[in-house]
Symmetry: C2
Subunit: 121 residues, 2 copies
């Protein structure tokens, strides 16, 4: 049983690759907001915002409610946690490599005064 969903990563990373959408996500971290409120800072049309929101929703990064004629958006942090874990896990695997561990030990374990970068003629 996998802890992380199969391939929502595709759509989550894709969703976050757009600056407008990242900005919206950051905005929603401060609390829910309506579509118009979210659109306000951006110089693009409302339909464009609407589609950005659909992308974010499809990625599981937001959920939308209904409050009268407004459709308030809420951040859903789970995908953020998942991608952070993925990135961290990958970095950790990289850091755990023997060769790099080796290099790291060489740099830190003894106090040899940092071997000069082997100047070439």
């Amino acid at each position: 049983m996998t802890v992380t969903a199969p391939d929502r990563f595709d759509v989550v990373f894709a969703a976050l690759s757009d600056p407008t959408r990242r900005s919206i996500v950051r905005r929603l971290a401060d609390g829910e907001a309506s579509v118009l409120e979210l659109a306000e800072p951006f110089p693009i049309s409302l339909p464009a915002i609407s589609r950005h929101l659909k992308v974010l929703e499809h990625a599981g990064l937001i959920s939308r409610g209904r409050d009268g004629q407004r459709r308030p958006c809420q951040l859903r942090p789970e995908p953020l946690v998942e991608i952070a874990a993925w990135a961290e896990h990958t970095r950790a695997a990289w850091e755990g490599r023997l060769d790099r561990l080796d290099a790291h030990l060489r740099r830190t374990a003894d106090r040899t005064p940092s071997p000069p970068p082997l100047e070439r003629p």
Copy 2:
């Protein structure tokens, strides 16, 4: 001076939005590899891999050396750290919100048996 580069996030998230490229990144976490070695698991052409690698390089996720006629690729973990930090920071901001803190306290602090969702006729 900013620690994180201005908008490499666009290109980093975009780079990671492709499953082939994520797979390559994971592979490189286990150590450097040549283009042919990286291409081996995938059913796509070598030029396609080459372009994937260019995308990853442009995102700062890999660097490439030269060893004879091979061009070994190496993972560069910095962007991974940056996006993990971004995601975590965003999640932390969300979690820090008063309303959610409030809700959280209501759920945990006292032991009221979860008020039924206010059924509507």
